[in-house]
C-alpha cells in the first residue's frame, strides 16, 4: 500500500519559518504505532501555533484523520473525542444542545490535541484557569508504542508534563473534556474605556468576577496615554437577557459565509502609518459605540475567524507573534517598558491584546498569575531586532514566553526565563522522549 507520505513546505499560522517536512497522515492507531517506533517526530494539529511548534522536518504526524467524536455524556457534559477534532466541530455539534467549551483561544480552528499540548488560555483565565483544568483524561502514545491513559489519578507525571508540553511527551490520541452548560449562544458584552495604563489595570482588577475580560490596546498612544485601551467584559447571556427576536432560536448557529483573503498582500502593506491609522479608527468607534450589548458567540470569541487566511495581509514573508506574561507585581512596569520600546522602533503591532491571568499550577504551561500581552509584527530585520530587545525586557521583569507564539527565540533567553525548563528537559531525558518527540522549535531551544 502507498505510504501516506508527503514532502511539503509547511509553517505555523504566522507563515514563518517555512520548512520542508515529511508529512504523514495516519488513518488509524496502527499506522501511528508504526511511525512512532521509528522515532524523531512531532504531532501536528491544525497548524495554528504561530511558529515552528508542530513541524519536524524528519516526520510530522498530521492528526487530520483523528477527527471522530466518540461519546458525550449529557448529564455531566463530558465529551470524548479523538485529538484531531476541531473546536469548531465541537461547537457546531454541542452548542445547539446547550454546551460550550470552558476555555477557548481566539480561533475555533484548533484541535483538541493542540489545546492540550499548549494548555491554551482564554479570556477567562483569571477566573477559571486554562484548558488543562477541564481535561478528565487522555490517551497518549509513547515511543515504545504503548497507549497510556493519563488523568489526575492515573499516570499523573505524564499527565502533568503533557498538558502544556507542546507535543514533546508523545502523541495524544483521544481525550475526555468537560463542557460548560449554557442557556443561549449570546454573550452580554460591556465595553469600558481606559485612557491610560493605570486605568486599564484598575478596570481589570475591579472586574475579577467577570467571566471574560480582555483589553485591546491602542498602540498609537505614548507618554501619558500609553496603555490606552478598550476593555471588553463578557458573560454568557441567559434566556431572560435576550430580546424577543432571538429568544425563539436562543441556541441557534447562524449559517454565515466567511470571507477569504484570496492573495498575499505586498510586504509593505502593513506599515507603521497604516497600523496607527487602523488603531485610531478602531479606538474612536469602540469608545463611541454602546457600552452594553448582546454579541453573537462567533463574533465575540472568534472575530478573526470570519476572514479566512487573514494571515496573508502580512505578505509572503509572514508575521510573528510575541506573547509573554509578567508576575502580577511587575506587570505594569514590564508592559509600559515593552510599549515604549516598540514605539521607539520602526515597526508597530497591528493587534495588541492584554489579559489578566489568575493562579495556575502546572509543570510546564505558560500562564502564571499576572498580565499577559500579545503583539504581532510583520517579519523583517527590524522586527527581529526589536524582539530581542523585548526579550530582554521580559527577562528583566521576570516574565515568561508562550511557545505557541514563538518562532525565533534564542535558547539562552528561553532557558533563563523559567526554572521549570530544566526540569522538563530532565524529564524528557529520563524517558528518552528527547530523541523521540522533537519539533523544529524544541531543537532550536534545545528542550
Amino acid at each position: 500500500m502507498k505510504e501516506n507520505l508527503n514532502q511539503s513546505n509547511i509553517s505555523g499560522w504566522g507563515g514563518y519559518p517555512i520548512k520542508k517536512a515529511n508529512v504523514i497522515y495516519p488513518e488509524n492507531i496502527k499506522q501511528i504505532l508504526v511511525e512512532v517506533k521509528k522515532r524523531n517526530l512531532i504531532a501536528r494539529g491544525n497548524g495554528r501555533a504561530y511558529g515552528d511548534s508542530s513541524i519536524n522536518e524528519n516526520k510530522t504526524i498530521n492528526m487530520k484523520y483523528f477527527n471522530h467524536i466518540i461519546s458525550f455524556d449529557d448529564s455531566f457534559g463530558i465529551l470524548v473525542v479523538e485529538s484531531g477534532v476541531l473546536l469548531e466541530d465541537i461547537i457546531k455539534t454541542f452548542l445547539p444542545r446547550g454546551w460550550f467549551p470552558y476555555v477557548t483561544p481566539g480561533s475555533k480552528f484548533v484541535t483538541v490535541g493542540g489545546l492540550i499540548a499548549a494548555d491554551v488560555h482564554g479570556k477567562n483565565h483569571h477566573k477559571e484557569g486554562s484548558f488543562g483544568n477541564f481535561i478528565e483524561w487522555f490517551e497518549i502514545i509513547n515511543s515504545k508504542g504503548e497507549i497510556i491513559k493519563c488523568s489526575k489519578t492515573e499516570n499523573t507525571e505524564l499527565f502533568k508534563w503533557t498538558i502544556g508540553g507542546m507535543g514533546l511527551t508523545g502523541i495524544i490520541i483521544k481525550a475526555a473534556i468537560k463542557l460548560r452548560p449554557i442557556q443561549t449562544s449570546w454573550i452580554k458584552q460591556k465595553t469600558l474605556v481606559a485612557k491610560n495604563i493605570d486605568q486599564t489595570f484598575e478596570i481589570f482588577e475591579n472586574n475579577m468576577n467577570a467571566t471574560y475580560s480582555v483589553a485591546w490596546i491602542n498602540s498609537t498612544k505614548t507618554k501619558d496615554n500609553i496603555g490606552q485601551s478598550l476593555i471588553m467584559l463578557g458573560e454568557h447571556a441567559s434566556i431572560e437577557d435576550l430580546d424577543k427576536k432571538n429568544i425563539k432560536n436562543h441556541l441557534e448557529i447562524k449559517s454565515k459565509k466567511n470571507k477569504i483573503i484570496p492573495f498575499y498582500f505586498p510586504d509593505w502593506f502593513l506599515n507603521k502609518n497604516l497600523i496607527k491609522l487602523f488603531n485610531s479608527i478602531y479606538y474612536f468607534f469602540g469608545k463611541n459605540t454602546s457600552k452594553e450589548k448582546l454579541v453573537y458567540w462567533d463574533d465575540y470569541f472568534y472575530p478573526l475567524d470570519k476572514i479566512l487566511e487573514w494571515n496573508k495581509i502580512y505578505g509572503r514573508k509572514g508575521f510573528v507573534q510575541y506573547q509573554c506574561v509578567f508576575p502580577l507585581k511587575k506587570s505594569k512596569d514590564g508592559i509600559i517598558e515593552l510599549l515604549m520600546e516598540i514605539d521607539n522602533s520602526s515597526v508597530s503591532s497591528f493587534l495588541s491584546v492584554l489579559k489578566r491571568f489568575g493562579d495556575q499550577e502546572s509543570n510546564f504551561s505558560f500562564p502564571m498569575k499576572g498580565y499577559t500581552i500579545a503583539l504581532d509584527f510583520p517579519v523583517s530585520k527590524e522586527t527581529f531586532d526589536l524582539l530581542e530587545k523585548l526579550d530582554d525586557i521580559t527577562l528583566k521583569y521576570e516574565g515568561r514566553f508562550y511557545l505557541a507564539k514563538d518562532a525565533r527565540m534564542k535558547k539562552e533567553i528561553f532557558k533563563k526565563s523559567d526554572k521549570r525548563i530544566q526540569e522538563f528537559i530532565n524529564y524528557r531525558n529520563q524517558n528518552n522522549f528527547d530523541e523521540d518527540f522533537q519539533s523544529s522549535q524544541s531543537s532550536r531551544l534545545e528542550l
Binding site: 502507498k2 507520505l5 508527503n6 514532502q7 511539503s8 488513518e27 467524536i69 461519546s71 458525550f72 457546531k92
Partner: protein, 245 residues
C-alpha cells in the same frame, strides 16, 4: 413512499466522508459500506452523535463480487439514493508493467462499479424510483500519458452511467454522473495540484447534494472543469500526442 436514506459505497473515502456529513446534516439515515469495518465503526459513532441520525455499517469489498448478493440482502432497507465513491488511481508507471495492478485499477473503477450499480438499477427500476450517483472523473474525458489506465476505466464508467440514464429516464430513476477535477484527498496526497482549480471534499459533497436535489444529469466539480475539458477535447490528436501533461 420514498424514504430519507442514502447508501454510500466506499464510505471511508475522503469525498464520501464529506458526503455522509452533508446528508447527515440534512437528516438522512446513513448506510455506509467499506472494507475497513473497524474504522467504519468509529466513523459511524461520530456521525450518530453529530447529526442524531441512524447509521448502519456494512463490510463491503467491491471486487469480491461473490459477496454482493448477500450484501444487498443484508441491507436494513433499500435506500432510495445510492452513491458510489470507490476509486483507485494506482501508479500509472507501475501499471504499465504490472498486469495485476492495472487489472485492479480497471476493475475498481469500471467493472466493479458497473456490476454493483447494475444490481441496484434493477431494484430501482422495479420499484419505480431511486437515485444513482456515480463518481467518475475528468480523467475519463481524454486519455493522457500520466494516468490513462485509470482514465480509460473512468471513461468506461462515464459511458456506462450515460447509457444507464438513457435506459432509466423513463422509469423515474435519476442517474447522476459526477466528474470531479482535482480534489485534495488521500488519493492525490503528495501530488502537485493547481491550487485554484483544486476543490475540497466538502465542496464536492455540496455540489453532489445540490445536483441530486435538482436532478442534474452530469456535473463537473469545480464547474470550470467543464470548460477546461471542453478545450482539452478540442485539441487535435496530432498536436495532443506530442504534448506532455
Amino acid at each position: 413512499m420514498k424514504n430519507k436514506n442514502v447508501l454510500i459505497l466506499g464510505a471511508l473515502s475522503d469525498i464520501a466522508k464529506s458526503i455522509a456529513q452533508k446528508y447527515g446534516e440534512n437528516g438522512y439515515n446513513l448506510h455506509l459500506a467499506a472494507r475497513k469495518i473497524d474504522d467504519l465503526e468509529l466513523h459511524s459513532t461520530d456521525l450518530k452523535i453529530r447529526y442524531n441520525v441512524n447509521v448502519h455499517i456494512y463490510e463491503f469489498d467491491l471486487l469480491k463480487t461473490e459477496t454482493h448478493k448477500d450484501f444487498i440482502k443484508n441491507l436494513k432497507e433499500i435506500p432510495s439514493i445510492l452513491i458510489c465513491a470507490i476509486g483507485l488511481l494506482g501508479q500509472q508507471k507501475d501499471g504499465e508493467n504490472d498486469l495485476e495492478l492495472r487489472t485492479k485499477v480497471i476493475r475498481t473503477n469500471y467493472e466493479g462499479p458497473l456490476n454493483i450499480i447494475s444490481d441496484f438499477a434493477n431494484i430501482y427500476e422495479n420499484q419505480g424510483y431511486g437515485t444513482i450517483v456515480g463518481i467518475s472523473s475528468v480523467a475519463g474525458d481524454r486519455g493522457k500519458a500520466s494516468n490513462y489506465i485509470y482514465g480509460s476505466a473512468k471513461a468506461g464508467f462515464t459511458v456506462f452511467l450515460s447509457g444507464l440514464r438513457n435506459r432509466l429516464a423513463k422509469k423515474n430513476v435519476h442517474v447522476l454522473t459526477v466528474l470531479p477535477g482535482t480534489v485534495y484527498t488521500k488519493m492525490t496526497l503528495g501530488m502537485k495540484l493547481p491550487k485554484l482549480l483544486t476543490s475540497s471534499p466538502d465542496k464536492v459533497a455540496n455540489d453532489i447534494y445540490d445536483a441530486v436535489n435538482k436532478k442534474k444529469d452530469i456535473i463537473y466539480t469545480m464547474k470550470i472543469w467543464r470548460l477546461i475539458m471542453f478545450i482539452i477535447r478540442c485539441i487535435p490528436e496530432r498536436i495532443f500526442k506530442n504534448k506532455s501533461f
